[in-house]
């Protein structure tokens, strides 16, 4: 065993990269759930984003266009969910699950001719001097642009929910859609916009996987990342800053277990692989033990269908 071969600096730097796809997906899902909608289709939207972004980047040679198409692809798929749940008032859990299955199948079909192809490399933030600062350089200033976009989105969502009128309306819709409706807010419109934002974020997360982290396309490459994103939102008790923490924790464990293996530590990797889920369960148990904490801080109208006639 030789733990000195694990460099903390590089570990932090690589966990930031590893966590970016799930961070993007979970910050999007947080906004969706804050508006009172439970979309379990994150995995499906991520993988559609992964293939849409990959195909567009390969086709045009531009990763930026790839990311745009990924966001559009994710948002387009989420519109299907929005249509079904907001207009036809279908069950959100069932619709979300169907969306995941649909996304996985559709992406496999779309990706048939993209297996084994190299995508164009996306730009890194190569600041001349700052990137070379000993510890801060690799950790903060030499990543792919998606890492910074994800961080900016987290900060933006936090600010939006806490300090803007729009954020207040979104939260009101999520807490009590009837009251928000009585006040004259367009509940369905707000929710559709939130759902599309969540879809776009999940799509970006998928593209971060297929264009930056791997970078390659394979069928089913998200491999459960969407479900982890859903777990992170609950783990974070619907708070943006904690989503960041959760995503880095999940990403960190994934990177750490490989690092420990390479350093020759003989803990079965299964323990580390299951640890984030164990933490999620423990956090849920601890939080739900305090009943007065307003039921886990969950939006009160989460998962409930809204119809204006009521």
């Amino acid at each position: 065993m030789d733990l000195s071969s694990i460099s903390p600096t590089l570990l932090v730097a690589s966990l930031m990269v590893a966590a970016t796809p799930i961070l993007l997906a979970s910050i999007g899902e947080l906004v969706v759930e804050k508006s009172g909608v439970l979309n379990l289709g994150v995995e499906g939207m991520m993988i559609i984003g992964a293939i849409a972004g990959f195909a567009a980047a390969v086709g045009t040679g531009s990763p930026i266009i790839g990311f745009l198409c990924a966001a559009l692809g994710g948002a387009a798929l989420s519109l299907v969910f929005a249509l079904l749940t907001q207009f036809f008032l279908s069950n959100q859990v069932a619709t979300g699950l169907a969306l995941t299955l649909f996304g996985l199948g559709l992406s496999a079909l779309m990706g048939q001719s993209y297996i084994g192809i190299k995508p164009p490399a996306s730009a890194k933030l190569g600041l001349p001097i700052i990137s070379d600062i000993p510890i801060l350089g690799p950790v903060l200033f030499s990543h792919d642009i998606t890492v910074y976009v994800a961080l900016a989105l987290v900060a933006g969502v936090w600010w939006f929910l806490k300090y803007t009128r729009g954020g207040l309306i979104l939260r009101a819709v999520g807490e009590s859609h009837d009251a928000a409706h009585a006040l004259g807010y367009k509940v369905v419109k707000v929710r559709i916009m939130a759902i599309m934002f969540g879809g776009a974020c999940a799509g970006l997360g998928g593209a971060a996987l297929s264009l930056v982290r791997v970078p390659q396309w394979t069928e089913g490459m998200t491999a459960g990342a969407g479900w982890i994103a859903l777990a992170i939102v609950v783990f974070a008790s619907w708070k943006p800053a904690r989503v960041l923490l959760g995503a880095y924790l999940f990403g960190g464990v994934a990177v750490l277990q490989l690092n420990l293996q390479a350093a020759g530590v003989s803990i079965p990797v299964e323990y580390l692989s299951m640890s984030p889920y164990l933490i999620t369960i423990i956090v849920l148990v601890v939080m739900s033990a305090h009943r007065n904490k307003a039921a886990l801080n969950a939006p009160a109208a989460l998962g409930r269908a809204f119809h204006a006639s009521r």
Binding site: D2, L11, I115, K118, V214, T218, L258
Partner: protein, 359 residues
């Protein structure tokens, strides 16, 4: 009448029917990854295409990609047998028990299982001596590394993979006594995400050579992004990543074997056999050593390849000790294929490799 007999008689009826109607020999292939993986499955599919080319109208091939190693594989094989396949190649280690099970239900269908060790009257096994190629890789890697750290991405801790690690290690050690191996197990044959992560971790921990026993080109991409890291194509040439990071490769050439076995089925001369060929027979090829490797290293690597090919040198020649220091091969002794301490069941690291073989 139980299910087994129903299935068997159905298969008999179908093979008889197809035999009477058409002269075409049907050959099925079960793949563990997609044919576009650029590695293992890609080469098996090249073998399939060679069969089509060799026999034209007389043969009909079918294949199924991305078949998980487990009960699902049995379903796919049964389906192929019911569709009238005369010969089925199952091309991954994990198909071993499914192949044996399905073969028992279809005695008239011939099965060929790659890299396994369980034979039956209608099940042959075949594999290639990849460890000979690993010897050449280790020889190049040991001399090319500057950090003296060589990263190795393992798939599953099975004899085939452990043989490769041992072979690469002893040949790297022979040319560079300071060399150290860092091994990460990915527990998958094909998962670009995991393979890329594993390669990145190894590179972060100082490896400037990454060897892989997984099938995708993702580690090559990770090495390319990192810069001064070299890799070797696995199972296929992976020439798209040359001359850097890919400096050479192990190429599996299944085509001659697939053609010969299909011919045997057509002629009715097929019998259950165990084939294990290496560089000499052409089943293992060493890909072009790229310009990134200095000429003298290239020359000695090619000399090693040729000595393995003509049989004048065995990749596992004593003195070699096991990891715990006990003697495995005495001076001048070469490893046997089977039996105690044989290559087929190798489940131990050799002396000098750190870490344990996972269970």
């Amino acid at each position: 009448m139980n299910m087994k007999t129903i299935l068997a008689s159905a298969a008999l009826a179908m093979t008889a029917a197809t035999g009477a109607l058409a002269e075409k020999t049907k050959v099925g292939f079960v793949y563990v990854g997609p044919v576009g993986d650029g590695g293992w499955t890609y080469e098996h599919d090249q073998g399939r295409k060679a069969v089509v080319e060799a026999f034209g109208d007389k043969v009909e091939t079918m294949y199924v990609e991305n078949v998980p190693e487990g009960p699902d594989a049995e379903r796919v094989m049964t389906d192929m047998a019911l569709k009238g396949a005369d010969l089925i190649f199952t091309t991954s280690f994990g198909y071993m028990d499914p192949t044996i099970n399905v073969a028992a239900k279809f005695p008239n269908v011939k099965f060929e299982h790659a890299t396994g060790y369980k034979q039956a009257d209608n099940v042959s096994v075949y594999s290639a001596r990849f460890y000979e190629g690993r010897a050449v890789q280790g020889h190049i890697a040991g001399q090319m590394t500057k950090s003296n750290i060589i990263g190795y991405i393992g798939s599953f801790p099975i004899p085939e993979v452990i043989r490769g690690i041992n072979s690469a290690y002893i040949h790297a050690k022979a040319v560079n006594p300071d060399v150290q191996f860092k091994i990460v197990w990915a527990y998958t044959w094909f998962d670009p995400t995991k393979e890329a992560d594993a390669a990145k971790v190894l590179i972060e921990q100082g490896a400037d050579v990454v060897l892989q026993h997984t099938d995708s080109t993702a580690p090559q991409a990770a090495a390319q992004a990192a810069g001064n890291v070299i890799t070797f194509g696995q199972a296929s040439d992976m020439a798209a990543y040359g001359p850097m990071p890919r400096v050479s490769s192990i190429i599996d050439d299944w085509a001659p074997y697939y053609i010969a076995r299909t011919k045997a089925v057509m002629d009715g001369t097929w019998t259950s056999t165990s084939t294990w060929d290496g560089i000499g027979a052409g089943m293992v090829g060493i890909g072009e050593i790229s310009s990134a490797v200095p000429a003298d290293i290239k020359a000695s690597a090619e000399a090693l390849r040729d000595s393995l090919a003509d049989g004048s040198y065995h990749a596992f020649t004593g003195p070699l000790n096991k990891q715990d220091g006990s003697v495995w091969l005495a001076v001048g002794e070469t490893a046997s294929d089977y039996g105690d301490g044989g290559l087929a069941g190798m489940n131990f690291y050799l002396e000098g490799i750190e870490g344990d073989v996972p269970n």
